[in-house]
């Protein structure tokens, strides 16, 4: 920008981080912010999980056991919002912050101040959102999809919900702009696009999706706000609008959003499997193209959430065909991972266990997605527990499992210590078994006719609900092990080597463990 740059780098040459609270408040360091994001995500995972436990406890038996139906609806709504915007997205963003600069050989993120802002907007948004639970009338109870006119029946919580979504949206957009700028602009010499680790590629595309669709969500909720308080008629037939119009706008955001929740997972798994198979990733470039195709298709499939709203036939068919197509590039990814393992030399440390479980369980979720994609049968599946089972397979045993795999994989790099492998294995096996006990029976419930979002059910659903709840409690408790492993690893443990994993490749493994506060101030040269 200016010709007098030669003294610029003298400014930040003290390598130790500042001490105290202000370090975390004012930090512009990508590793600090990565850690903040991940800690925040972990807390939110437990908050959202606690809400899920309320749901599962109420559904343990038929009858009104624990909470009022209205509070139950608040729990499902908040559970979803907290898990999606509070746990999974921030966890991925945290990983991106920590890893992308070190994976591409950059000194930091491109826009460090914006990075700080984007993070601190998150707690702000969640203060606004979670406080509504204590308001007269309670928190949002219209589902995370916020369909009008139901959402307009909210009490005092309504405008807080809207503005919380705005704030969280600004946070994700700013975080993503930063990531795109970093990837496109900060790569070390020689780090061409097609040499980037797949996690970086996945995030480049994810960030693009976020920048493209979060503003659309902001627009949608803004229209809700004006419909409620300023007399507009976007979603009211009397004024010439249509409640279904909201659904179109929402799902134009919402479907890309679910891929926002899975593409970084693909990136993580693509890093872990080659490491523990000790064999290069199969089909790197087709992985990149597949990710890009999924992202492209994600913009034209939103109608599959709306097969029952009475769209014209042509619309139904179009969305059905487009949705089915997504299976093709996703299948390419699955098969590429399988091919990577084929003729490898595998060991099964905890990250690898989670990654393998991811491949299988995500496939189950994806395949039930293909069933849902068929418009005529979705008229039966829609809004039943079959859908709930589908999306928890892709979200919990997909997104969450990948995050856990990633945390185990990079934890030694972050802390400098090996985590407790034995506890890690316990965590994996307990989670693996219980997550299936939790969500597999929900397929049956849905097919047998149990609608979702109900606090009480007919007697024939009692058995499977009880099984599911038991699985839920077990899965929840298993996560305490995860927490314990992390705490233990931060506090000490066997010293980790720089390479950490025998088969690991990539710039991050050339750094010391734990990685110093500032890295790659002089860019490495990538051949």
């Amino acid at each position: 920008m200016s010709s007098t740059t030669h003294d610029a780098h003298h400014d930040h040459h003290d390598h130790a981080p500042p001490k105290g609270m202000t370090r975390w408040l004012f930090t512009t360091n990508h590793k600090d912010l990565g850690v903040l994001y991940m800690v925040f995500a972990l807390i939110m995972f437990f908050v959202g999980g606690a809400m899920a436990m309320v749901i599962r406890a109420e559904l343990f038996q038929p009858g009104l056991n624990l909470v009022d139906p209205h509070f139950f609806n608040q729990m499902t709504t908040m559970h979803a919002l907290v898990m999606i915007f509070g746990a999974v997205m921030p966890a991925f963003t945290g990983l991106a912050n920590w890893l992308i600069p070190v994976q591409i050989g950059a000194p930091d993120m491109a826009l460090p101040r914006v990075n700080n802002w984007a993070f601190w907007l998150l707690p702000a948004g969640f203060v606004l959102l979670l406080l509504t639970l204590f308001m007269p009338g309670g928190g949002p109870a219209g589902g995370w999809t916020m369909y009008p006119p139901l959402v307009l029946q909210l009490g005092d919580a309504f405008p807080f919900l809207i503005f919380a979504v705005h704030v969280l949206g600004i946070s994700s957009i700013m975080g993503s702009i930063n990531i795109v700028a970093t990837i496109l602009n900060m790569r070390a010499p020689g780090m061409t696009l097609m040499k980037m680790p797949l996690f970086v590629w996945a995030w480049l595309i994810t960030a693009f999706l976020i920048v493209a669709v979060m503003p659309v969500l902001a627009g949608a909720v803004t229209m809700l706000l004006t419909d409620q308080y300023f007399g507009t008629s976007f979603f009211s037939a009397a004024g010439g609008g249509d409640p279904v119009m909201f659904q179109h706008i929402f799902w134009f955001f919402g479907h890309p959003e679910v891929y926002i929740l899975i593409l970084p997972a693909f990136g993580i798994v693509s890093a872990i499997i080659p490491t523990f198979a000790r064999k290069p990733l199969f089909g790197y470039s087709s992985m990149v193209y597949a990710t890009a195709s999924i992202a492209f298709l994600s913009f034209i499939v939103w109608g599959h959430h709306m097969f029952s709203v009475g769209m014209p036939l042509a619309g139904q068919l179009f969305f059905m065909y487009a949705t089915m197509l997504v299976a093709v590039p996703t299948g390419v990814k699955i098969f590429n991972w399988m091919a990577t393992m084929w003729q490898g030399s595998m060991t099964f440390e905890t990250p690898m266990l989670f990654a393998i479980a991811f491949v299988i369980l995500f496939t189950i979720g994806g395949l039930s997605g293909v069933m849902l994609a068929l418009a005529p049968v979705d008229l039966q599946y829609h809004d039943t527990y079959f859908v709930v089972a589908h999306f928890h397979y892709v979200l919990v045993s997909g997104a969450i499992f990948s995050i856990m795999a990633g945390v185990y994989y990079w934890l030694p790099k972050w802390t400098g210590h090996m985590y407790d492998e034995r506890l890690g294995k316990w965590h994996f096996w307990l989670s693996m078994v219980s997550v299936n006990v939790l969500f597999f029976p929900q397929h049956f419930l849905g097919l047998a006719g149990m609608p979702r979002r109900i606090p009480d059910y007919a007697l024939q659903f009692a058995e499977f609900n009880m099984i599911s709840s038991i699985g839920g409690f077990a899965f929840g408790l298993s996560q305490l092990i995860f927490l314990w492993v992390i705490i233990k690893c931060v506090r000490g443990g066997e010293k980790a080597s720089d390479q950490v994993w025998e088969g690991a490749k990539g710039l991050e493994w050339t750094l010391p463990s734990p990685a110093p506060y500032h890295t790659f101030e002089t860019p490495p040269v990538v051949k």
């Binding site: 740059t5 610029a8 400014d11 702009i177 229209m223 008629s233 976007f234 609008g241």
Partner: protein, 286 residues
């Protein structure tokens, strides 16, 4: 991508974002309380807005100072460009939501309500025929007039297009180091933006007072005011940004090959311009 010019500038720490956070919370919570009818809402909102404003000003001041001090190399400059470009893209998508609503209403919901969907029209809305512009089947007795393209909107279109020209003129002048021409071009642009907003405000008054066209005039009023309203907001922001650039030009912050702040504001202005063209065609013309 090149690292040729030495290390990338990473600020030590940054207090303004965190300083601004309570501002955002107060702004949001205050506005919410206000909408819920609480008496605390307004004052909280004002405090929140002031904090947010201070944050913005101080943050940009830091950046300007660093830029003037020459801490940014071409790579930092490129990051800013990326950032601004993607930010504008996100704004485009925000407008996309509202344009989407307009198209949906015109192509689907209005025709359905007005007879294309026979059961809906017959059993729910007494088979009234509807055609754009309309306030919807529930407000048929509403007496209002639509806003045509003549003459104010057309004049405004010309004003904005001209402002695009004057801005480009300023940009060329900047590249050739003609400071006075830059100042003239920029000043003209800001002035045109100001006139645009005056005309727009006049149009709103006219709509409310003479045409009885209001925000709550069904879907027509909703889309009309929300689209033009958000556009107006962006024009105002863009004009403020250009004004700041004008001051910076006068202060001599920019050189012929180093004036990203100016360019960012200019991009933004062009984006606002393009949105207006879309508006003009889809809201006023057809």
């Amino acid at each position: 991508m090149s690292q040729a010019q030495g290390a990338y500038y990473v600020p030590h720490d940054s207090r303004w974002p965190v300083f601004g956070i309570p501002g955002m919370v107060l702004l949001a919570a205050g506005f919410s309380l206000y909408l819920n009818g609480g008496s605390w809402g307004m004052p909280l909102m004002v405090v929140g807005a002031i904090i947010t404003l201070i944050m913005t000003v101080m943050w940009f001041r830091d950046v300007v100072n660093e830029s003037v001090a020459g801490k940014y190399n071409t790579q930092v400059d490129a990051s800013f460009r990326q950032g601004m470009a993607w930010f504008i893209f996100s704004e485009v998508m925000f407008f996309g939501a509202f344009f989407g609503a307009l198209f949906y209403a015109r192509v689907f919901s209005i025709p359905w309500l007005g007879g294309d969907d026979p059961a809906t029209a017959r059993y729910l809305w007494d088979s009234v025929a509807l055609s754009w512009p309309t306030a919807g089947p529930g407000f048929l007795d509403l007496d209002y007039q639509a806003m045509g393209p003549l003459w104010l909107p057309t004049i405004n279109t010309l004003i904005l297009l001209t402002s695009g020209v004057t801005l480009t003129y300023a940009h060329h002048a900047m590249k050739e180091n003609h400071r006075n021409k830059v100042i003239a071009g920029l000043a003209a642009t800001v002035l045109l933006g100001f006139i645009f907003m005056c005309v727009q405000s006049y149009e709103y008054v006219h709509a409310y007072q003479d045409l009885n066209l209001r925000l709550d005039t069904g879907i027509y009023g909703s889309t009309f005011f929300m689209l033009t309203g958000f556009h107006g907001l962006h024009v105002t922001l863009g004009a403020v940004a250009l004004l700041v650039m004008l001051i910076r030009v006068i202060k001599g912050h920019f050189t012929a090959d180093d004036h990203f702040g100016f360019e960012a504001a200019a991009w933004y202005w062009h984006f606002v311009d393009v949105v207006w063209l879309g508006l003009f065609v889809f809201v006023y013309l057809i």
